[in-house]
């Protein structure tokens, strides 16, 4: 601890300097006096005694200065003057400073942006009490019959994020490792009505233990408790908690908000409190604005049978670990509990085989300190790739800076030599270089941090689509600053250390004599060029692959052959039409829309093209017992008559559905793929029967072309089209409209009809095929464009790096070149020789880049479409581009080399 005391003493010394000096003088005066007296006692005359004592004291000024020095931060003071000097040097070299700043700002800004998104999505701890204790419980060891539709194919998932409400309850009852548990389910974008004004808000539906388990406190009013979460609602009606943002938007932060009435999906709620300002729910990327009790889900969606049906996996289970219980212990405890929990929650009438599989299911305990997010699953891989890309760009920028610094340190050889011969310590010269790179990197980081939020907003916009607006909390935190500090240290060390070390090797006498042949730092600079070329090739190749596959995706046939169609999903229920009246409303709207002059045709459809929405069902085909379960798994789509002509799906055989009025529920159409799989050909499918779950038979009256519904990169799913009135009619159908003239004119016309039907203008989601394609390719487009931009940027800076190196090389070798010319070499030969050296370096870089790309060849696989990562055309273009850039970068220095005048050169010394 003595160093702390000494630091404090020094700090005091900083501003007590005058007093320190006075004390020192007083101490010396006393010393002199004592010495004089001693001498006098020995019989020396006073005058001589004074002289003798002064003499014995020696050079008092010098050692007073020594003492004083002890009390000050000599280091700090010289640091300050070095810093001032560094600023002066950087200002003198405007071009150098500007180039360095621009590259660093872009490099650091891009890294900060991507990192802060990853941070917000994956690592930022939730603003709740002891977030490290919060866990998410998932279901694993699933029966082989559980199917998920992934990439156009039915596959067996390994883990379910949701469980049944029965499993959750059995867990709550039996578990002994958690301090508390809560359940969530059914939340999403909903209509919230306050004082007659409708808003769309992200509503979170959570059981009563949600806020207590998360240990949150209301900033106004109170939060929800288990008492609010009762079947049928508490005696006074349903209660809700709103977010800080909604409090401002709806109530201007007035305390009167508490007790105010709102309605969510037409269910009345009383606002009882406001959540903490920092809390946005536990799903990063989704900004929750209102919280309602789990049981109110039954009032909001009466048709969902999540609480009563043992087969509905809709409950997300979370828990807080008891203090001292580790995740591993919790996992172990749940493993023992699982069989009992499953037995308690299984449906009574299961076949023996199903029963065995059901009881073998297990729970997994996943850390959820940072929340959980479906967005993280789909978006994080692209972000990781981007982080690698921007890190590579920053590496190129930093190595370029090293090159520039090295060149500058050589140019500053004279200055350094003078300083060294005047007695400057080596450490101080080194520090000078590190300071200069620190200044640059610091300024670049500050500018980059400021610019990062633009890139963050752009990235968020790119992955948002329609209603699912992505909002990731990217406010700076300790983790971000640690990352920035790491980048800064890396840049400073990369850019400043090499010149600092090489400067220290300056031999003053050689520099003073204008010795020029030194090749200090050249090997390193060549190495850096190789590294830059390698990274550039990898970036260029990646960008080429992404852009090519994006083009392939854009031109990939979707199965829909119509440009001028639009899809409108009116929220008729919230606009005032009761659930029972919705079927009639659909029918009357259809008739009225069809009479509009600009509308060619119209139809209702459950899933707009490429919207991602999906419902699958395993059907039975009489007489085809040989088909596997996966082969009989169909995408089931509900539409009205006129759908196929409205969206441009060709009718290959048979007829379209009859109008709803005909009341036929037992008819259906198959997609071409399904017809061929089950019956051999479209024609032979006509009149055949397909058996649905629940033993309903459907007669096939037509076969239509294949079309894609989930994602453009997947094969079109085998589809069964049913009339939308086949079963209970779901709210939230889309009206497909094929129009003529401008779309901007047609949409309001249809919305007016919606308003007339419902009595109020309903919230309507408007989508187009193009827009849906663009949305479904968000990640790909983002990666392609950013990779392209960064690859271009990387190419530019590595080319300038190469040019810089060769200017320097030519400058160094002027004398040698002059002699060569004098001895009979031709300018052309010199030029070719210099260019040859540039190409050789580039070639080594290309080989390294090829190896690097080979190592990384699988990184982009998930994003590529219609092209292989090893496609020779892409890499050939990358190689040619880099060779051309290398030739361009060395051409001017080589030309300058050939223009050396031997006579002038030899006269110079």
């Amino acid at each position: 601890m003595t160093w702390i005391a000494s630091l404090l003493a020094r700090l005091r010394g900083l501003w007590r300097r005058p007093r320190l000096d006075a004390e020192l003088d007083a101490e010396l005066a006393y010393h002199l006096e004592m010495k004089e007296r001693a001498l006098e006692r020995q019989g020396v005359p006073p005058r001589q005694a004074r002289l003798a004592s002064r003499h014995a004291l020696g050079n008092a000024t010098l050692w007073k200065e020594d003492t004083r020095e002890l009390w000050r931060f000599a280091y700090l003071e010289s640091l300050w003057s070095d810093l001032a000097y560094a600023v002066r040097m950087l200002r003198k070299d405007r071009l150098f400073t500007l180039a360095a700043l621009v590259t660093l700002t872009l490099g650091i800004g891009a890294n900060t942006a991507v990192f802060s998104l990853l941070n917000g999505l994956l690592w930022r701890p939730l603003p709740v009490g002891q977030p490290e204790q919060v866990v998410h419980l998932t279901v694993t060891h699933l029966p082989p019959t559980v199917r998920q539709w992934v990439n156009g194919r039915s596959v067996a998932p390994t883990e379910l994020r949701q469980m049944t409400y029965f499993m959750y309850n059995a867990l709550v009852k039996r578990q002994q490792v958690f301090a508390g548990m809560f359940a969530m389910g059914g939340g999403g974008s909903m209509e919230l009505d306050s004082k007659g004004t409708p808003y769309r808000v992200q509503t979170s539906i959570a059981s009563g233990a949600f806020f207590p388990v998360l240990q949150l406190r209301a900033q106004a009013g109170r939060l929800l408790t288990p008492d609010d979460d009762r079947v049928g609602g508490p005696p006074g009606g349903w209660n809700a908690v709103i977010s800080d943002n909604l409090w401002t938007k709806l109530f201007e932060r007035s305390p009167r908000a508490i007790g105010a009435g709102i309605s969510i999906e037409r269910v009345p709620f009383t606002v009882v409190g406001v959540a903490p300002a920092s809390f946005h729910g536990i799903n990063p990327g989704v900004d929750a604005e209102a919280w309602v009790p789990l049981m109110s889900l039954e009032a909001i969606y009466p048709n969902l049978r999540w609480r009563t049906d043992r087969g509905v996996y809709m409950t997300e289970a979370y828990a807080r670990l008891q203090p001292g219980v580790s995740i591993a212990q919790a996992r172990q405890s749940l493993t023992q509990l699982a069989p009992a929990v499953m037995e308690e929650s299984e449906a009574p009438s299961q076949r023996a085989q199903d029963k065995k599989f059901f009881e073998a299911m297990q729970f997994a305990v996943r850390p959820a300190a940072a929340g959980t997010s479906g967005l993280a699953v789909s978006f994080a891989p692209a972000l990781w790739i981007l982080l690698a890309v921007v890190a590579a760009v920053l590496l190129i920028a930093a190595t370029n800076l090293t090159s520039l610094f090295l060149a500058r340190s050589t140019a500053r050889g004279y200055e350094i030599a003078v300083r060294l011969s005047l007695g400057a310590p080596l450490a101080r010269i080194r520090r000078q270089f590190l300071l200069e790179s620190l200044l640059l990197a610091g300024a670049g980081a500050a500018a980059g941090l400021a610019g990062a939020k633009w890139l963050t907003a752009a990235l968020e916009a790119a992955v948002s689509s329609g209603e699912s607006v992505v909002r990731i909390d990217t406010s700076p935190d300790l983790r971000l600053f640690a990352f920035l500090a790491l980048i800064l240290v890396a840049v400073v060390v990369l850019a400043g250390l090499a010149p600092a070390l090489s400067a220290a090797r300056t031999a003053p006498h050689l520099v003073m004599r204008r010795f020029r042949g030194g090749s200090r730092g050249l090997g390193l600079r060549r190495g850096l060029i190789v590294l830059q070329t390698a990274l550039s090739l990898t970036l260029l190749g990646g960008a080429g692959l992404m852009l090519t596959s994006l083009r392939a995706l854009d031109s990939e046939p979707t199965g829909f052959h119509i440009a001028s169609s639009v899809f409108l999903a009116p929220d008729l229920f919230n606009a005032g039409i009761s659930r029972e009246r919705i079927p009639q409303a659909y029918q009357s709207l259809l008739e009225r829309v069809r009479q509009q002059p600009n509308i060619v045709s119209a139809a209702w459809t459950m899933n707009p093209p490429l919207s991602g929405g999906f419902y699958t069902m395993t059907v039975q085909i009489p007489g085809r017992g040989d088909l596997t379960r996966d082969e009989r798994n169909l995408f089931v789509h509900r539409v009205s008559e006129g759908y196929f002509s409205t969206v441009g799906i060709p009718l290959l055989a048979g007829t379209d559905l009859p109008p709803a009025a005909a009341g036929r529920r037992d008819l259906g159409l198959l997609s071409e793929q399904a017809a061929r799989r089950f019956f051999g050909s479209p024609q032979s499918a006509l009149g055949q029967r397909v058996r649905l779950i629940g033993n309903d038979f459907v007669e096939i009256i037509g076969v239509v072309g294949d079309a894609k519904y989930e994602n453009i990169r997947e094969p079109a799913p085998a589809t069964l089209y049913l009339p939308y009135w086949h079963d209970r009619i779901a709210p939230g159908m889309n009206l497909a409209v094929r129009y003529q003239g401008p779309m901007e004119a047609v949409v309001p016309e249809v919305e007016v009809l919606f308003q007339q039907e419902a009595g109020r203008l309903p919230y309507t989601q408007v989508r187009t095929l193009r827009g849906n394609i663009a949305d479904s390719l968000g990640s790909e487009r983002l990666l392609a464009w950013l990779l392209g931009a960064f690859a271009g940027f990387g190419l530019l800076i590595s080319a300038t790096g190469l040019a810089g190196l060769f200017f320097y090389l030519v400058e160094q070798r002027r004398k040698e070149l002059g002699i060569r010319l004098a001895l009979g070499s031709t300018p052309g030969r010199l030029r070719r020789q210099i260019e040859g050296q540039g190409l050789a370096l580039t070639a080594v870089g290309l080989v390294c880049g090829g190896l690097l790309s080979y190592v990384l060849r699988r990184a982009l696989n998930g994003y590529l479409f219609g092209i292989s990562a090893a496609d020779p055309r892409i890499w050939a273009v990358g190689v040619v581009t880099l060779v051309a850039a290398a030739l361009a970068a060395t051409a001017i220095p080589a030309w300058r080399a050939s223009r050396v005048d031997p006579v002038a050169m030899l006269r110079e010394d």
Binding site: L24, Y30, H31, E33, G58, A60, K64, T67, L70
Partner: protein
């Protein structure tokens, strides 16, 4: 013959100063005198070495200083040994004893 500070082994001066103030606070001149007399007039510490050393030990926290009245009723700066200083002194003392013993054995004729 008086040994000057730069002829001493490094660290010796610190030890000498700590010993000089071990029994009670003393001002700079008295410390110089004490080293001179306790070493049997062998070690003569120059002012140019003494005062920087005193301040250095103060910064290390081994000495504390305060202004007080001297024997001649003049204001003088007194240096007092601190607890870390005593600890340091005890360690140094043992180290030096062993060193001196070892050196003595080595230098003695066999």
């Amino acid at each position: 013959m008086a040994l000057k500070e730069n002829e001493l082994l490094p660290g010796t001066l610190d030890l000498l100063i700590l010993i000089a103030v071990e029994t009670g606070p003393a001002h700079g001149y008295a410390i110089m005198e004490a080293i001179w007399s306790r070493s049997g007039e062998l070690f003569r510490v120059e002012e140019g070495a003494l005062y920087p050393a005193l301040h250095r030990l103060q910064l290390k926290g081994w000495l504390a200083a305060e202004w007080g009245a001297s024997e001649a009723n003049r204001k003088a700066k007194f240096y007092r040994i601190t607890a870390p200083g005593r600890k340091q002194l005890a360690g140094e003392r043992t180290r030096w004893r062993r060193l001196a013993l070892g050196m003595d054995r080595v230098l003695s004729p066999v």
